[in-house]
Amino acid sequence: MDEILPSSNWIGRIKKTAASATAPVIFIGAVAVALPQIIKKRTLRLKDLVYYLDLCGTKSLGVVLLISALMGMVLAIQGALQLKKVGTDIFIVDLVGFAVLKEFGPLMVAIIATGRAGSAFAAEIGTMKVNEEIFALKTLGISPESFLVVPKLISMLIAMPLLTVFADAAGILGGAAVGITYMDIPPGAYMERTFDVLDEMTFVLGVLKSSVFSILITLAGCYCGFKAAGDAQGVGRGATQAVVVSIFLVIVADAILTLLYSFAGY
């Protein structure tokens, strides 16, 4: 009788390993299938969308503005120390502008979104698992992927690019504050050069990066929640894992996108 256990022979073990290796792919597939369905069937609950937009968007705005402005200042100070040596102070505008639009805007937003939304998603879904709510969804004929992941995904896809626009502005203003006060660049000249050197495409590509990050953070958070062991410790581990996995994926995606953008000349 034991031969029917999946772990009792090597074929079973290979199947099991393959199943756990393909689990993330199957999960992403299920979400991809759910996405058009939920929109077609109008099963998207407005209330959920508003809640997650608030969680990922409005509630994160303050801290995103603050850390982006600080990052802009730090970049400007570090840059100033080097540029002073060669006496080309005005290039601080280029340095801060490009670094913020291309990297630090999207990354600062991704960090906050990971800490705030990604871990919350994992904890929420993990807790629902402990309370058998996931089972209840299934047996109500509701796919957990469409019901739980899609609203989060849509909210994050709206909130993160918008936050990135704010982060970009805050970062550039932070840099400007340093440039104007610490490096004595006239405010008019600083702003003029900002608009001269920065082009729309650089800005758009940065915002696009943050859309990619938003998908990764949401999927990683939800996946870690679904995979979490069904107890309180499991939920905690799931939330931590969501943060680690998200940050890892964001950095890898950033490297790949930066490479791709550079081939396109950006």
Binding site: M1, T43, N131, E133, A136, T139, L140, G141, I142
Partner: protein, 258 residues
């Protein structure tokens, strides 16, 4: 819709990863029947229930519900089938971020084209049925354990299912509430003709409502008796079965002589 059985289980083997919990289960539940799953704690009753409703796939064997083979690989067919089936959980399994009324309304919103007014009307009917008429706007966290269970029942019957599964519905309820739940189950059968599969420890309930039961012995890891509990109680040749079904009598005698 001519078939006679609401549930058929054939040659089921169930377990988790590296351990078989139950083997060689064969049983069927007739339409309109109230069917009990009994057994000692940890014998695998909840495990059996979770496999019957497709939460876990069986290691081996076939399950059919309402005449349809349970096929977990076809998700849309499974979701459609589950709209005709109601399940209540040991702890209620209410969605914590929604009010009680929203919980009950959810299956109606997602699976029917009813207007919000119609849905609100059905929700208040179902909540009244489980004696929670005044608690629609409460969050699940603000309810007692027994109330949560009853709210879970209201949600399970929102779509008027043809087949209802209960995992220990009366555990944690006071005797009066447990009796009320029993009569609710009986009246649902009378009025709607639902088939009920129920896991329970309460002997009173078993004798009051079930038509037929299966009894699982943890030591054997399989079904050791099947039939009318009132008959099995005295007629079964299996000592475990007789002891199990006469537990209350035994307890009383222990109190008396102990």
């Amino acid at each position: 819709m001519e078939q006679e059985f609401a549930l058929e289980a054939e040659d089921l083997h169930l377990g988790y990863n590296d351990r078989i919990v139950l083997h060689d289960l064969n049983f069927s539940v007739k339409k309109g029947e109230i069917f009990g799953i009994l057994g000692n704690s940890g014998c695998g009753k909840s495990t059996l229930l979770k496999h019957l409703i497709g939460i876990f796939p069986p290691l081996k064997g076939k399950i059919s519900l309402l005449g349809e083979m349970l096929d977990l690989s076809d998700k849309s067919a499974y979701n459609r089938l589950m709209t005709r089936i109601g399940v209540t959980y040991q702890g209620g399994a209410l969605f914590g971020s929604m009010t009680v009324a929203e919980n009950v309304a959810l299956p109606l919103e997602l699976h029917t084209d009813k207007s919000p007014d119609e849905i609100a009307k059905i929700v208040s009917e179902k909540l009244a049925l489980v004696d929670l008429a005044d608690f629609g706007n409460f969050m699940p966290g603000e309810l007692s354990g027994g109330m949560r269970k009853r709210a879970g029942l209201a949600r399970a019957i929102a779509l008027d299912p043809q087949l209802l599964f209960f995992d220990e519905p009366s555990a944690g309820l006071d005797p009066l509430a447990a009796a009320a739940l029993d009569s609710l189950i009986l009246s649902m059968r009378r009025q709607l003709g639902v088939t009920v599969v129920i896991v329970t420890h309460e002997l009173d309930s078993i004798y009051a409502i079930t038509d037929r039961v299966i009894i699982i012995d943890k030591a054997e890891k399989t079904i050791v008796a099947e039939g009318d509990p009132r008959k099995l109680r005295c007629e079964s040749e299996n000592l475990f079965v007789r002891n199990f079904l006469n537990r209350n009598g035994m307890k009383r005698s222990v109190e008396h002589y102990g």
